[in-house]
């Protein structure tokens, strides 16, 4: 597309510098986005991608440098100015107005007549092949639907420049494909798109140009076809790593001889029914399925956050009948929640405080600062958390580091069984490999791990065994070598709902 006509420059960023509290985050970024181009942007957590995109969207004021959108300079930071120049940023974490309707959430700020907007929103829903009740209150939406609302906001604004920040992290594969179709249409219409993702497969599918950020500078830029996956990952992480995270260790442990640490027998609750499986010491059991299959509900019920209807739960051979989260923690069962912003972290609190979240009650009436500090130091080192120190606010860390803090909190409780709910959502390749390595190490130490993930690659790489759920029911199990992406997908979708097909 770039040979014959000279395409319009949709965004030109020149020499952008930005630092927070003396720490430079962006160091002289130059980047160009052409109309009709899908430009992939990669980088580790904390590489500066989000800051760069927020600068372009007028949400952050750069210290130096200029941003031009559709050949007009964006003055001071103002999201409405950026939007009036034709740009919209679809953020990674959906910003929802919980008390308003879904339609209001999508259309707020648009000037057209309400009826016309509704018609447009409905057409867009059909295009994206999703079903959403436009009149529902947004507070009732699940995380994936919130992201769809955020994407629809971008599309309905008919922006000529779109920034999609990890748009697929909460979508099912079907929804992701529908989104990609839409992206291709937009591209044909001359819309310029910055596409941020950690999934190289996705990037290969729809992007033509790539830029890689590392430590606030662009370290690789050019046509995507010029680089192979290993080169890209290498550019991101500086150290040479395999693009494919290490494969599941082909160990020959026969788990059948190990102790059962967690036994779930015909367990039913809100959103799932008759789930039975067990986890043995040192075993990683994947709990696969699409979003909405009832896996998080199951985990939250096991952990005493929701009422169970029937069924038994045995932990280390003893039934755990009276369950509150604290009972579970004390008995050795710990849960890492899916939504780290909402349920996992105290975003305003320090890292040390966050890490002692599950163990507060063991620290005594006057918790000693020394204890928390030493725990912090241990985990910072063993998990490789990049931060300023124990006093830093958790909300200021990047996604991957936040996830590590959350994992530290779980490990501080010294669990025997760990339930991990989407442990790598919104986490970059390097940090993801770190987390995979940690999960394997934990299992090797004898922990039983339940790994909930919608990323079937992740399950294939980590799990010794997998239980597949669809629509609240257990619809199959796979063991060892039978754990493959295809087999899981077959179980999760074929037995799944025709509504997604």
């Amino acid at each position: 597309m770039e040979q014959n006509t000279t395409p319009r420059i949709a965004v030109r960023v020149a020499d952008i510098w930005k630092s927070y509290g003396g720490t430079p985050v962006l160091k002289g970024i130059n980047i160009e986005l052409l109309a009709g181009q899908v430009h992939a942007l990669l980088g580790g957590n904390g590489a500066g991608k989000s800051t760069l995109m927020k600068t372009i969207a007028g949400l952050v004021d750069a210290d130096q440098g200029s941003v031009e959108i559709n050949e007009q300079t964006l003055g001071t930071a103002s999201p409405s100015a950026a939007q009036s120049l034709g740009l919209y940023l679809v953020p990674q974490e959906a910003h929802i107005l919980p008390n308003q309707s879904v339609l209001e959430n999508i259309c707020l700020g648009l000037k057209a007549k309400p009826r016309a907007l509704r018609a447009e929103a409905e057409a867009l829903l059909r295009d994206l092949a999703v079903s959403l009740d436009l009149d529902a209150q947004a507070a009732t939406l699940e995380i994936a639907d919130r992201q769809i609302v955020e994407i629809m906001r971008g599309l309905i604004r008919k922006a000529s420049v779109l920034i999609l920040d990890e748009p697929t992290s909460a979508l099912t594969p079907h929804e992701a494909n529908a989104l990609f179709d839409r992206v291709r249409q937009l591209k044909a219409q001359g819309v310029g798109i910055f596409f941020i993702s950690h999934k190289l497969r996705e990037i290969r599918e729809i992007c033509s140009v790539i830029s890689v950020l590392r430590d606030g500078a662009i370290v690789l830029s050019g046509p995507l076809s010029d680089y192979d996956d290993n080169q890209i990952v290498e550019a991101m992480t500086k150290t040479v790593q395999s693009a494919q995270p290490v494969k599941r260790t082909e160990n020959n442990i026969d788990f059948r001889t190990r102790d059962v640490v967690l036994e779930i027998d015909r367990f039913s609750g809100e959103g799932f029914r008759d789930i039975s499986f067990n986890v043995r010491a040192g075993e990683i059991v994947g709990l696969a399925g699409v979003v909405g299959a009832g896996r998080s509900e199951l985990a939250e019920t096991l952990f005493g956050l929701r009422p169970a209807r029937s069924g038994n739960l045995n932990l280390l051979g003893t039934p755990l009948t009276k369950r509150s989260p604290r009972d579970c923690v004390d008995a050795g069962l710990v849960y890492l929640p899916e939504d780290r912003q909402q349920n996992g972290l105290f975003l305003e609190a320090s890292l040390a405080w966050n890490m002692s979240g599950y163990t507060m009650h063991r620290l005594g009436f006057f918790p000693k600062r020394k204890d928390e500090t030493s725990a912090f130091d241990t985990f910072r080192q063993s998990l490789g958390i990049k931060c300023e120190g124990e006093g830093q606010q958790a909300g200021r860390l990047s996604g991957g580091n936040q996830q590590k803090v959350l994992l530290s909190k779980c490990l501080a409780a010294d669990p025997r069984v760990l339930i991990l709910d989407e442990p790598t959502r919104g986490v970059d390749v390097a940090a993801r490999n770190d987390i995979y390595r940690l999960i394997r190490e934990l299992a090797a130490k004898g922990l039983g791990v339940v790994l909930i993930s919608s990323d079937f690659d992740e399950i294939e790489q980590l799990a010794d065994r997998v239980v597949v759920m669809a629509h609240g029911l257990q619809c199959g199990a796979l063991e060892r070598d039978a754990v493959t992406v295809d087999a899981i997908a077959h179980l999760a979708f074929e037995s799944g709902s025709p509504a997604h097909a």
Binding site: P98, L108, L141, G271, R273, C475, G496, A499
Partner: protein, 349 residues
């Protein structure tokens, strides 16, 4: 039925209010009359105006506890202008302008200097009261001209000009927040400020507008106060800000911002005011008023909370029932009925 009440705090409150009226009517015949209604209405005008302004501020997830002092200050400006021989129109304009400036100060403190609204308005609560006292030298303003007091007289149809002004404010604000784009921004800013910013909504401007509107409405309340009473004491409007917040809460305005309606304010204020009038009618000594008003407020909120929780449970049960009632003995995934329910529908219920 239950569902309806849970979604609708206003409906709950209406039901409780009507029930209370009927009970009092049964105990004290003669209470239920047009004249009572007229008294309750005119007694509620001051609070109504203040509560309406407070609602606009609360919608944007701020709070305004300075409105009682704004009322006093603007009433004093009105009274001094009139007693200096200025025309009624000019005096009222100055009164409203005072309210607007006071609101603007609040708004600028909150948005430009980033002072949390509770602290900013606590500060101005004292500040504005102080300015008022300095202006009057600590004296009451008395002998207000008849032209002002005439505003409080009932006209031919039993309504005073003041009632018309307040009803008109209710309608204007009600239409504004529901029907105009800028009005909806008030809800958006309070619901999720970061989201509103992302959508390009002028977040600061909206908050300032809310404070200014609250100031003007408090000034209108000051004018009503002066016209009804005929003089302006030092403590005019004292404590009214908290009553206004109570009326908001009663009327279903969320203190967390982003939800609330004008009809809610109306019912909430009428409810609070009618408690006072009922106590008079029941010949209960006036020193019981605060106790009873507080107890009733708590009772209504508790009742409302309980109903809401019960309905939430019912909704959750309904939402997850699909897994338990359909196809009871089919654990493998092949029943079309269970399977075809897309998750978005479940979530939307």
């Amino acid at each position: 039925m239950l569902d309806f009440f849970a979604r609708n705090r206003v409906a709950t409150l209406c039901a409780v209010t009507i029930l209370a009226f009927l009970l009092i009517g049964a105990v004290a015949p003669g209470y239920l009359s047009l004249s009572t209604a007229s008294v309750v209405m005119s007694n509620s005008l001051v609070l109504m105006s203040v509560a309406l302004g407070t609602m606009l501020v609360i919608l944007t997830r701020n709070i305004d506890v300075s409105s009682g002092s704004v009322l006093g200050l603007s009433a004093v400006v009105l009274g001094m202008m009139l007693n200096d021989g200025h025309s009624l129109g000019l005096a009222i304009a100055a009164c409203l302008l005072t309210g607007a400036v006071a609101g603007l100060i609040n708004g600028l403190l909150v948005t430009m200097l980033n002072v949390p609204s509770i602290i900013a308005t606590l500060g101005t609560l004292g500040l504005f009261r102080g300015v008022m006292l300095i202006l009057t030298g600590g004296n009451w303003i008395e002998e207000l001209p008849l032209s002002l007091k005439a505003l409080a007289d009932n006209g031919a149809v039993g309504f005073s000009v003041l009632t018309v002004i307040v009803i008109a404010s209710l309608i204007v604000v009600g239409l504004f927040v529901r029907q105009t784009r800028f009005g909806r921004y008030f809800y958006a800013v309070g619901d999720n400020r970061e989201a509103a910013r992302h959508l390009g909504i002028p977040v600061k401007l909206v908050q300032i507008a809310a404070f200014v509107a609250a100031g003007v409405l408090a000034a209108i309340a000051g004018m009503i106060f002066a016209a009804q009473i005929g003089f302006i004491p030092n403590q005019a409007g004292n404590g009214l800000e908290l009553k206004a917040i109570a009326a908001n809460v009663l009327g279903g305005v969320s203190l967390l911002g982003g939800s609330g309606t004008v009809p809610g304010i109306f019912v909430g204020v009428i409810f609070l005011t009618s408690i006072d009038s009922a106590l008079v009618f029941l010949k209960i000594p006036a020193f019981w008023n605060d106790f009873i008003a507080g107890a009733v407020l708590l009772l209504v909120l508790l009742l409302d909370g309980r109903v809401r929780m019960a309905v939430d449970r019912a909704i959750r049960a309904k939402r997850y029932a699909v897994h338990h009632h359909t196809n009871p003995d089919q654990p493998t995934a092949s029943s079309p009925e269970t399977m075809s329910k897309p998750r978005t529908q479940e979530a939307g219920e």
